[in-house]
Structures are given as C-alpha cells and as structure tokens.
C-alpha cells in the first residue's frame, strides 16, 4: 500500500455569517449577502481543492469542546439540523454528512498510543458542531467527501496556551502518522478565526457591511503580523508566538487547530497561500492554505 499523505492544510474560519451570506438551500435563514472578501476567497480555495485528488477531510474544531481528552467522530453518518447557539438567527443548517470512521479510528489509536487521552464518539443523536459544518460547507459545498471531526480539548483554559502548543502538536504528529499508515490522501482543516473579540451587539441587518469592522486596531495589527509570518513560510515562528497572540487578542487559536495542523504538516517552511482577510462581527479571519506540492502552490493574494 502506498503511504498516505496530507495533500493540503487549510485555515478555514467558521463564522456562521459566511454560510448565512451565501444562502445555500440547507440553511433556513435568508440574507442579502455580506462578507464577500472572505466568501470569494473561500470560493477560490474550494475550486483549488476540486483539482486536488483526496479521500477525506479531517477537521479540528473549537466548537466541540471537550475537557476530558480529545474525541473523534465514530459513526459513518450524521444527519440533523445544526442551530448556532450564539447566532441562531443566522444559522439553522440541515446537514447530512459522511464520516471516514476507519481513518477516525486510526487517528484515535495513534493518539492514544502517543499517550493522549482519547474517546470515540458513537452516540447517533450527537449533533455535529457548527464550526465543522461551516468550514466544510465553504471548502466543499458539494459535501462529496467524508470527513472526520476532532474535538478541541480545553488545554488553554485548564493549563496555559503553552501547554496547548505541546498537546496539540503531539496530536498533530499522531494524526500525521495515522494518515501515513492509512494510505489515504487527506485535506486537513483548522477551523477558526484569528483575533476573536466580538461585538456584543448586532446590527439590525447583520449583513449590513457599513457596520462591519475589526474590534480594535490592536487586534488588526496582531492578525497582520501572524499573516505576514504565514506568507513568509515561518510556521514554526507562528507557533512560537502563538501563546502571546492568543492571550493578547483572545484569539480562537486557543482551541489548538492551527497548531495541530501545522504540527501534522511538519511545520512547513514554504509560504502559505492567502485567500482573504476580513472581520466578522469584530473578529479577525483569514482563509489560508498550505499546499505541500511545489508544482501547484500559488501566490494567490
């Protein structure tokens, strides 16, 4: 069997606003649009993924929060309605998705072997979190690939951002090993924003773009610093600075997704493709991709 490999790693933010703005038939809410900079960037990345041959998407989400270890989806299909607990006015999405249980179990086992506390999630009534659904929908609106969701263990809160770097890196290495052994071609997705301070009020028309801006300039400057390092291929440095970034901007990197993904990819020193940056209700969001293939890697923006 040929060795499996990670064919791309995507940083894919999941404000439900982006799905809401696109009006897919699965979502019950209706919008007049909004947040095009991010959505058009997502569209372009989704087109790129169409040209990549892959078997499954593995996504790490901060909206499946587990305190006792890292959990993996462990049933072949989930079908239900996801309603965002914070923005239910925007996101009530009917989903029907397939899970690559074999790959999920391999990653679970590899993580357990590496000493990480793990659990397979096999309750059929479980609702898949809206982070998974938003990022996967925007990267693959056809939903024609199986996914695996990995939960976010709450290391940052329980211990510190530094412990999160250690734990998520170990998990990334274990997942990479399992992917290699699986013989599968896999797209990794870290589902989260960068700076993460929200406005606590919403415009009467949430998609009114005259009201949208970053929460404050400090958040913006930090986000730009991180993106600049991504562009320069300094992924190890991004992780080194991450504890401070997370604390200063209450960034959603606290969930560990980007650390996990970059560790799984061996902390790439090639440039990340940048597809767009925009604020959503004050938070900072970038769509980015690490393409390990020198032939297909692009300078997008």
């Amino acid at each position: 069997m040929t060795k499996g490999q990670i064919v791309a790693g995507c940083l894919a933010p999941h404000p439900p606003h982006l799905v809401y703005a696109a009006n897919p038939p699965q979502n019950e809410a209706y919008s007049e649009g909004g947040w095009e900079t991010l959505r058009w960037g997502y569209n372009r990345l989704a087109r790129k993924l169409k040209d990549i041959d892959y078997d499954a998407i593995v996504i790490f989400t901060p909206h499946w929060q587990t305190y006792i270890g890292t959990h993996f989806l462990g049933l072949p299909q989930f079908k239900s309605k996801s309603v965002d607990p914070v923005f239910p006015n925007l996101f009530r999405f009917n989903y029907d998705l397939k899970v690559d249980v074999e790959l999920s179990e391999l990653m679970h086992d590899a993580a357990a072997e590496a000493g990480i506390i793990t659990k397979m999630m096999r309750n059929p009534d479980f609702r898949v979190d809206y982070g998974t659904i938003t990022s996967c929908h925007l990267l693959n609106p056809e939903w024609d690939k199986p996914i695996v969701t990995i939960s976010s263990n709450r290391n940052t809160h329980y211990y510190s951002p530094e412990v999160m770097v250690e734990q998520a890196s170990a998990l990334g290495r274990a997942c990479a090993k399992a992917i290699q052994e699986s013989g599968k071609r896999v797209v990794l997705v870290a589902s989260h924003s960068l700076s993460h301070r929200h406005f606590v009020e919403e415009a009467p028309l949430p998609e009114d773009m005259s009201r949208e801006h970053i929460y404050n300039h400090s958040q913006y400057v930090w986000d730009m610093k991180i993106i600049e390092m991504m562009r320069e291929g300094k992924s190890r440095e991004v992780i080194d600075i991450m504890p401070e970034f997370t604390e200063q901007t209450i960034a959603e990197t606290e969930g560990g997704g980007l650390i996990w993904m970059l560790a799984a990819m061996g902390f790439p020193n090639f440039p990340a493709e940048i597809y767009g940056y925009q604020s959503v209700i004050g938070t900072g969001n970038v769509v980015a991709c690490w393409d390990p293939n020198d032939e297909t890697r692009e300078y997008v923006l």
């Binding site: 006792i68 607990p85 329980y158």
Partner: protein, 309 residues
Amino acid sequence: MTNEPEILFGIYCPPHPHPLLSPDANEGYAKLRAGFDECRRRIEESEADLILVYSTTWPSIIGHQIQALENAVWTHVDDDFHYLGSMPYEFKIDTEFAHAFKEANEKRGLESRTVEYEGFPIDTGSVVALSLLNPENRIPSCIVSSNMYANRSETIVLGKAVRDTLATQGKKAVIVVVASLSNRMFTEHIDPADDRIHSRKDDDWNQKILEFFADGRLEDLSQLSRDIHGQIRVQKVVAYKPAWFMAASMGQHNNYDGEVLAYEALNGSGGAVITLTPSSGSVGDKEFDEDDVEYYQGDRNVLDKGMLE
C-alpha cells in the same frame, strides 16, 4: 421601580448529566439525584408560576439570550459525556415572560434578545435541571444565557430585570442557577467509583461556600464572587457570575434559610444541590465593597480617558 416580586425559593445545582443519566454509577451521583428529586417535590408543592433557569453552560455573545420557543423539543447529547446517553427533552416555555424579560433588560440598558427556533441547542445544564426539576412540565419555565463577556454590573442588572418582570406579571417564581462550585474536572476518564473533588484546595473552598449558603448569606457570596473566581474556577469566562445573578434576582441580602441537600464530585468538579428560601433575620452581614448598580451604562472605555490631547 415596580412592586416587589415574589420569589418562592432559589436552587443552585450542577450542570453535568450524571445525576440524570447515571445516578446509580456511584453513591455521590445518587445523592445529587436525591437532592434534585427533593427540589422537584418542593416545586410541585409550591405555588410557583414559573421556573427561571440561569445556566452557566449556555454562553452568549450578543447580550443575554432568552429561550422563548413555546414548545422546545430535541434530543440533546453532551460534548464530553455523550457515552452516558442521549437526553430527549420537551420543555414548555413561558413565552410571555421571555418577551417581557427581554424588554425589562433593554429598559435597564442591557442588550438582550429572545431565541425562538426549532432545534435550538439548549445546553446540558438547562436540560439536566429542567428534566429533573420539572419532568412533567407542570410549571412553565424559561432559560436565560450567561454572556461570556459580561461582568458584575451586567449580571446584577440582569437579575434586577428578572425582578421587574416578575413584579409586573405578578408571577411567583423559583430561580434555578445551574453552575458547579469548583469547576475543575479530571482531564482523563475515571471510574465513577473513584470520583472525588479534584483537589483538597477546591474542596476547602467549596466547603466554605456551602457554609455561606447554609447560613443563607447570599449577598455575602455575591460579594465574594471575584475571590471565588480566582481561587476555584478554571478561567473560561471573565468572572464567576452565578451568585451575582442569584442575589440580584432573589434579593441582595443575607436573609435566607439555606439548605445544602447534597455536595458531591462530578468527574472532579464540585456539584451541589442547594436551596435558599427568603426569610426574616440576617446572619453575619459583612461590609459590602462592591457598588450596587441599577442600569447598565456600557463598557467604560478606559483607553479613551487620559489620552494626551
């Protein structure tokens, strides 16, 4: 502002699903369950028109959200404890209260909104509390979120808006606050037989808090909230808010009959079922340091002050 509302009693109870889904897995879970059952009996025997739940496991961002779907039906599964089973629920919500509560919040300067959507994910803490305390939906209920950015002033004002609403509608209420005491859990899966409070320090603090509750010193606990947050709360949110909400909604004083029905570990966290009933006579007032607040004026933008012109 309005007449005094009638709060029959308050309940402080834990959010984790063990007392609902696996009460017999250890003696402690069974004791917590018995505590819930006792509260259920007391609610049934009371003349309550409404059960209002403030849940620390329902975080919100856009102000405080209030459940307003008349018939909230779903099957809930906990993120961590999914292997203990599913929690099907059907709750009868007092929509009239929900909408009036939202307006009362706004009158006091708070951002607030009702949520009225089929399939809205009601949080584990609320599902556990309402399933055990009001299984037959004998009494209409309502649930309010805990804003993740809110601190003391918003939470105190939120509690006062509850009083405004109850007084205006002339409803007798039971206030239910869903929260752990110490909230640090073991980060590995444990045999329920081995469950205990995560650390001696957490247990010491929990015992102290329980003494205050047993003495009916709710306002003292409210005043101690910042210390409690620093000592025994994992820093997930900006503050420990349950005692603020409970005091502000039930009355900011120490004149309560307190009863600790159970105190046990839930995967390491401190779970307690406690009741507080308004009474006469005050025990051990301390000197209150925290300012009282009637209206929320918004964030104080300290960065805008003292800038060089």
